[in-house]
């Protein structure tokens, strides 16, 4: 039977439209897309029933769930909140100092915590402190959200899209960090500088005293235990190549370690996991792998190759630009899953710059406008909950400005780091 690629392309477009227009949650949109893809694929003889299940990358799902369990258990101890409060105390009472410290803490927290959890903790901290000291909370909350989006760009377990790209590229934890962590750290300061310049008028309040601010740790034992688990996880990831243990095995090991050594109810921990993302990834994998069978993604790969005229530098910049712009509108996990097959199929000897560009594009485009970014939307919600009037146009301007600055710097970084020439 003749395959009609248009039909499969429409299923893909439908899934994205359902998710973007919020008809269904991400997971349900992808499940519906996967269902239609499976139905059409089976009817057209594109793949067999057994093959559909092989489309779901169990290694990726194991890595996702393992990291989620570990992070959820560690987060429950209050470790990140305690660290945040100590750092804020260290910053003193200057609004500008507080702005910089809170921004750095937000990005650092996001290296280990999921973005949604980090926004919840950091925006609550920023609001409480700015309320206490009488500062305008908007710059602190917005900076916190943007830095949380940026945080984790340089590590394999920093975001779901990183795990997808890292596993497909064959990068281990150290290799991934070697290519991208320096860029992330530089981007921290560039983003803080852009945001500070934008908000400088609103950060000119006279410093207030924060001596009376006390950090009280209620469950010291749990906090120490959480810090240890985190340290073990990072230690294992760093030495994963030497040990010959894959990332997903480490994630599952630390998840079991966290569940057995802490006293949290595992059922509660499981309930709090981001199942929406897990189901979205599993279903979207079926969708993308199905699409791959039609030859559409290979055509896209050919298009990238032709547009870049075989030059690695052009292909890298093109990947960065296209993935960055599409991530402004679409979930970055969807962008990562869509770009992986065409990049894999590209006929270039060294694909490390391309994978790195995809990581940067999917991460940095993710928090440009409040309407399509989860972290940004949560920050807006926190400000509104505080009774503040939120100007969405202004927030979009800040988001787009920082994203553009980040993408421009990333382009220069990739060219310099991988010594790419045109």
């Amino acid at each position: 039977m003749a395959i009609e690629p248009v039909k499969y392309m429409l299923v893909y477009v439908l899934t994205l439209l359902l998710a973007v227009s919020e008809v269904f949650p991400l997971s349900v949109s992808a499940m519906l897309g996967a269902l239609l893809m499976a139905w059409f694929g089976l009817n057209d003889g594109l793949f067999t029933y057994e093959e559909i299940f092989s489309f779901i990358d169990l290694r990726l799902i194991a890595l996702l769930i393992g990291v989620m369990i570990t992070v959820e258990t560690v987060g429950r101890s209050g470790l990140f909140r305690v660290l945040g409060l100590y750092a804020v105390k260290l910053a003193g009472g200057s609004p500008a100092g507080l702005f910089v410290v809170l921004s750095v803490i937000s990005a650092a927290t996001s290296l280990f915590l999921s973005d949604a959890a980090a926004v919840l903790i950091l925006s609550a901290t920023a609001l409480a402190i700015s309320r206490e000291l009488g500062y305008d909370p908007t710059p602190f909350v917005v900076a916190s959200a943007l830095m949380i989006n940026l945080g984790g760009t340089g590590t394999l377990i920093g975001s779901v899209s990183n795990m997808i790209i890292g596993l497909n590229a064959g990068f281990d934890f150290v290799e991934f960090a070697a290519y991208l962590l320096p860029c992330e750290l530089m981007l921290w300061w560039i983003t803080i500088a852009v945001l500070y310049l934008y908000y400088r008028e609103r950060l000119r309040d006279s410093p207030k005293l924060v001596e009376e601010y006390h950090v009280r740790v209620e469950n010291k034992g749990e906090v120490i235990k959480a810090a240890l688990i985190l340290a073990i996880m990072i230690g294992l990831y760093v030495s994963s190549e030497r040990l010959g243990v894959p990332a997903e095995a480490i994630a599952l090991f630390t998840a079991v370690l966290a569940l057995t050594t802490t006293r949290y109810d595992p059922v509660e921990v499981f309930e709090r996991l981001d199942w929406d993302t897990v189901f979205f990834v599993a279903s979207f994998l079926v969708l993308v792998r199905g699409l791959e069978r039609t030859g559409i993604l290979q055509a896209l790969s050919q298009l990238i190759y032709e547009a870049s005229k075989g030059s690695l530098a052009y292909a890298t910049l093109l990947t960065l630009l296209v993935s960055g712009i599409t991530s402004i509108l679409l979930a970055n996990v969807a962008v990562a899953l869509t770009f992986v097959p065409p990049l894999k199929a590209l006929n270039l000897p060294d694909k490390r710059p391309l994978w790195s560009a995809l990581v940067l594009g999917t991460n940095l485009g993710g928090a440009s406008i409040p309407v399509t970014s989860v972290v940004f939307a949560m920050a807006v919600g926190a400000l509104r909950h505080e009774g503040l009037k939120v100007d969405m146009g202004e927030l979009s301007k800040v988001g787009l400005l920082t994203s553009m600055a980040q993408l421009a710097f990333s382009a220069l970084y990739l060219l310099a780091y991988f010594r790419l020439s045109f």
């Binding site: 429409l10 477009v13 973007v20 227009s21 919020e22 008809v23 239609l36 059409f40």
Partner: protein, 201 residues
Amino acid sequence: MYVHVCSRGDVMSAKDRELKSEEAVKGGALLDWREELRVRLPRAALYLLVAIAFYILSVIVPGLVIGVKLPGVLEPFSRLDWLLWAFLLLIALAFGGNAVYNLLKALDPLLEAMARRMGGNVRPAKRVARDVAYMLLVVLVAEALTPIAESLGGPGQPLKIVIGVTTLVLLLILVYDVGKVTYRYIESKVELLIKRLEKIV
């Protein structure tokens, strides 16, 4: 007392209008929709019947006057049968248009109720995106159901027609909604521009 002329041509006082809108809010979209259907459907049916009647007349009557010609007039305007056919068909089309208009008006509250059900008042861009998503969904579900209908053999043929007609109707409703939302959006922008220009003048 100020009076407003409704789209139906009735005259309604401002207070009546206020009461009606309050009622609509209290009773919800369903009540609104039923009220609209109660008024619009009989009108649409009547207009449709008249349109069909005139169409039938346009087929039969010209046959009775074949050969009668008006002197000094160019073909085909000189032929009485052609003139009668064109005249009757024009009337049939006018009534048919009215029937379609009433049907579309009856659809408005239903579409609003559907939109509310699908997530309340959303921005026009999001509503259009949702409509396009539903259009794609309708087409793809129809495409997915067709092989099932075909596999049924005999009863599959009418089922295929039902699937096709349902798809077409749903698509028309969604296209109409896209058109309406876009029109309202552009209209509001134009009005805003006119107000600004008025201020400048």
